[in-house]
Amino acid sequence: MIWEHFPALIPISLLLGALISAPLGIWKRFVSYPIALTAVGISFTSAIVALIYVLNEGSYSYHLGGWFPPIGIEYVIDPLSSFVVLIVVGVGFFVMIYSHRSLQDELSMKEVQFHAVALLYLAGLSGMVVTGDLFNLYVFLEIASLSAYALVAVGEKRATFSAFRYLMLGTIGASFYLLGLGYLYLVTGSLNMADIAKIIPMLHENTLVAVALALMVVGIGLKMALFPLHLWLPDAYTYAPSVGSAYLAPIGTKVSAYVLIRILFTVFQPHYVEEVFPITTIIVWLSATGIIVGSIMAIAQKELKRMLAYSSVAQIGYIGLGIGLANPLGFIGAVLHILNHAMMKAALFLVSGNLRYRFGSTDISHFNQKMRIAMPWTSAVFAVASLSMIGIPPTAGFFSKWYLVLGSIDSGNWFFVVVIALSSLLNAVYFFRVLEKMYLVRQAEHVSLDADKSFHKEFKVKEAPISMLIPTLIFGAAVIVLGLLNALIVNNIIKIAIPNGL
């Protein structure tokens, strides 16, 4: 039965989808989208099956090609990986639905290639999540990164430059990771996560292990855009096409955060990263700084996507903070925020895509009531997602902050409590600034300048097409529903996933 192979199916159906959809798409353009959507659909279904399976039967190890680990490559489906992979392909699925119309508008004639690259990107990300092998992870990391560069580069004029910068920094990150992995392989002689985890406790005194950890954390930190390694992110998110940002922002950096969790807590294990080589302390302080800096930078932005990009830097900080706290509540906060932030950011970037689709620009200074009147649903989703970013209960964003605050208090470090509290207020400043414009500012009077153009725009402006609106609404609704149901997720999935010794 094919379902026995569902762990492999998650990335492989995406890879195959990319392989099939590109050549067939070049032959007949219209077939590429259905193929791509089917591929993501299969992957999404497999991820759901995987999660249900894990919750009922427990963790599951799949041996690729029948080779047993540590020689062969192992795919591990445990509560954490099945949860994260579902987020990845779930977001991918709905963004894929969304992308059809948006791409026709922004990148007409390039959809075929774009879909193929997006599939590769999702394949890379989902592979990173399910694999239990550190080198295989690197391979998927490169697949995901290279396609991510392409997703950025295809955007507007400055996108090429942004993508190049992203490529340079991303490659440096990947090299760091590979170097660290090399050292680790040198001392442990293994690439399998579980296998290395067994060996590490015997090597606590070995400096090479510490160096390997440091290198890998820096590498992953770059991919994750952990402050101060976030410099590639704002430009990349701003200049990528709308759909590109919608693929990148919600899940791209989150998967790296997941990898960081895996490396710290599965491979090296809490005792080592907290006490022997306290790298979590560094992570937690950098994250706290990132939260504040990202929020302040977001306030200073004039363009919606750029503002959201800086806000992402801050939100990654929340996840890093939760990881770095290295206690159960912080862990819950971090993992829950991976989900919540994926939903919020997806909603926000889709909203920005809708606005761009109808108005041609997302410059905040041009926002006015016309947007809300023309696009009531899109605006409503923006409002809900904003409230969630600020952390107003009962939206999802509140609860991740709630666990992070609890975790910070638990660790006795009040500075982080202050950081989280302060950042909520900073979030309120930049989101309400936009909401105020969207809902309250009357349209500017300088219409007469180019009356023809504005008449044309007037004619165009209405709610986004249904295939774009529905994914937007789904993410908007998810923000509220996941907020109310967070206890369900925390109790049934995240609590089981808390690593031993944390």
Partner: protein, 498 residues
């Protein structure tokens, strides 16, 4: 005190009914009469639901409804205990009158965006009842923040630059407060492992260092004190008077600000508990802030010429009466404080209604323009007089009864300074309210002599609230048993001490 808890969906329906009305209100935006019908229907149903809980609540039979677990070991739970029912009764009862009044007001002024206005109002009331029935701190903050957000569209309703900047100020204050409250709640959870409101306080036997308790208490007070207008956290309230008058009337004299005061009492009585309040001297901290606020707010009210702003400062002062009464931690003090929650509600809503009526029919909002208005709007100014007398604490209006009990409580707990504050502020109340009456009746109007009352939708609620103030001054235990509620809540709160 034996508490008998039973499962019931009534608290749930009482909260949800106005939320259910929201889509109906939104979808009938083209047909104003139908739209207003939904608002009125929701308010009446809500009131009846809350009212049905009264007998059980007074005999300490507490209805409880749990939605689901919202965080591990913490549920989203509604519990209709006496204090909650009491507050819900005031808010939902006055919502009916405010809805009628609103109809007259927005139509009289041809306000824009009436649908948004009525929809936000309905959400506010749901949140207020949620705040009233919240069984634990997490449920409380959920509704408390909902209330913050739902009030925002009402504050900026006019969409003028002034209103928008008032909205900003409002958000800065209330969102900061929300954050402080969240931290306080998380800390409490960390210290005790529970966030459930409990008689006598939830800390139980947990012993804590002095500073911890004091900082935690101040965090809580920062959280709920902003909405309660405790100085120095009050300054959003006069600014928020940019909102339409019915909003000021119900939200900035009853629902929103009283949610803050309600929160103060909840924190004092059900989080820290009277024993802890006394042992750590927390009641003295509260007492100082409240006393300070009462006097200073009354003084500031004196110099305001804008009628609504003057009333806003008066509200700030009177909210702290309630806080003061509770801070006394004596049976009569708490009874008086709790009763003042209702008394101030009926009196102040009358005054705000009057201010709105004057604005609608004469377009005047400053005290200095009100010469001779008593002859032009006899019913309105008659009601205004009753409210003003009551706020000054003169019998037979209900403001006297509650103030009397606070005074008795002050003597009971030997806080004679509180007595002085009460007397001085009574005089100050008279000093800022009576000149308005004097102007209205004894000065000649310079341009207009004929009668010009506002429409009946507005006059009827004004007269009703004024009469209610009078009736509850003469018979505090009539119908809604405000006095019984006062004593029951006092027993609930002080059970541990006496």
């Amino acid at each position: 005190m034996p508490i008998d808890v039973y499962i019931s969906t009534v608290p749930f329906y009482a909260v949800i009914v106005s939320l259910i009305a929201v889509p109906f209100i939104l979808f009938s935006s083209r047909i104003p009469n139908l739209r207003e019908f939904w608002t009125l229907a929701a308010s009446v149903i809500k009131f009846l639901l809350v009212f049905s809980l009264v007998p059980n609540a007074l005999s300490n039979r507490v209805a409880e409804f749990t939605f689901f677990e919202i965080s591990p070991n913490i549920s989203l739970t509604l519990r209709a205990d006496p204090f909650g029912v009491y507050f819900a009764l005031i808010a939902s009862g006055l919502w009916i009158l405010t809805s009628l009044y609103s109809i007259g007001y927005v139509r009289g002024l041809n306000e824009h965006k009436q649908t948004r206005y009525f929809a936000s109002f309905a959400v506010c009331l749901s949140s207020t009842i949620g705040v009233a029935f919240a069984a634990n701190l997490l449920t409380f903050i959920v509704f408390y923040e909902m209330l913050t957000i739902a009030t925002y569209p009402l504050v900026i309703h006019k969409e003028t630059p002034e209103a928008i900047s008032a909205g900003r100020k409002y958000l800065i204050y209330t969102l900061s407060a929300g954050v402080a409250l969240i931290v306080a709640i998380a800390w409490t959870y960390n210290l005790t492992g529970t966030v459930e409101f409990q008689y006598g306080g939830l800390f139980g036997t947990v012993s804590l260092p002095d500073e911890t308790v004091k900082i935690l208490f101040l965090l809580f007070m920062a959280g709920v004190g902003v909405k309660a207008g405790i100085m120095p956290l009050h300054s959003w309230l006069p600014t928020a008077m940019a909102a339409p008058t019915p909003v000021s009337a119900l939200l900035h004299a009853v629902a929103v600000v009283k949610s803050g005061v309600f929160g103060v009492v909840r924190v004092v009585g059900f989080v820290f508990g009277p024993e802890m309040m006394k042992n750590y001297g927390l009641n003295n901290i509260l007492f100082v802030f409240a006393g300070f606020t009462i006097i200073l707010a009354s003084l500031l009210a004196l110099r305001e010429d804008n009628l609504k702003r003057r009333l806003a400062y008066s509200t700030i002062g009177h909210l702290s009466y309630i806080v003061l009464g509770v801070a006394l931690l004596s049976p009569d003090g708490v009874t008086g404080g709790v009763m003042h929650l209702a008394a101030h509600a009926t009196m102040k809503i009358t005054l705000f209604f009057c201010a709105g009526a004057i604005y609608v029919s004469l377009h005047k909002e400053n005290v200095s323009e009100l010469d001779g208005i008593g002859k032009i709007m006899p019913w309105t100014m008659g009601a205004f007089t009753i409210g003003a007398i009551g706020l000054a604490g003169i019998p037979p209006i209900n403001g006297f009864v509650s103030k009397f009990y606070i005074g008795a409580g002050a003597i009971e707990s030997h806080d004679y300074f509180a007595l002085v504050i009460l007397l001085v502020s009574g005089l100050l109340n008279a000093a800022y309210l009576f000149p308005i009456i004097v102007r209205a009746y004894f000065k000649e109007s310079n341009n207009q002599q004929f009668k010009s009352e506002a429409n009946l939708f507005m006059v009827i609620p004004i007269v009703v609230t004024a009469i209610l103030s009078l009736i509850f001054g003469l018979a505090p235990n009539l119908w809604f048993r405000i006095f019984d509620f006062g004593t029951t809540v006092a027993k609930n709160i002080l059970g541990g001490i006496n």
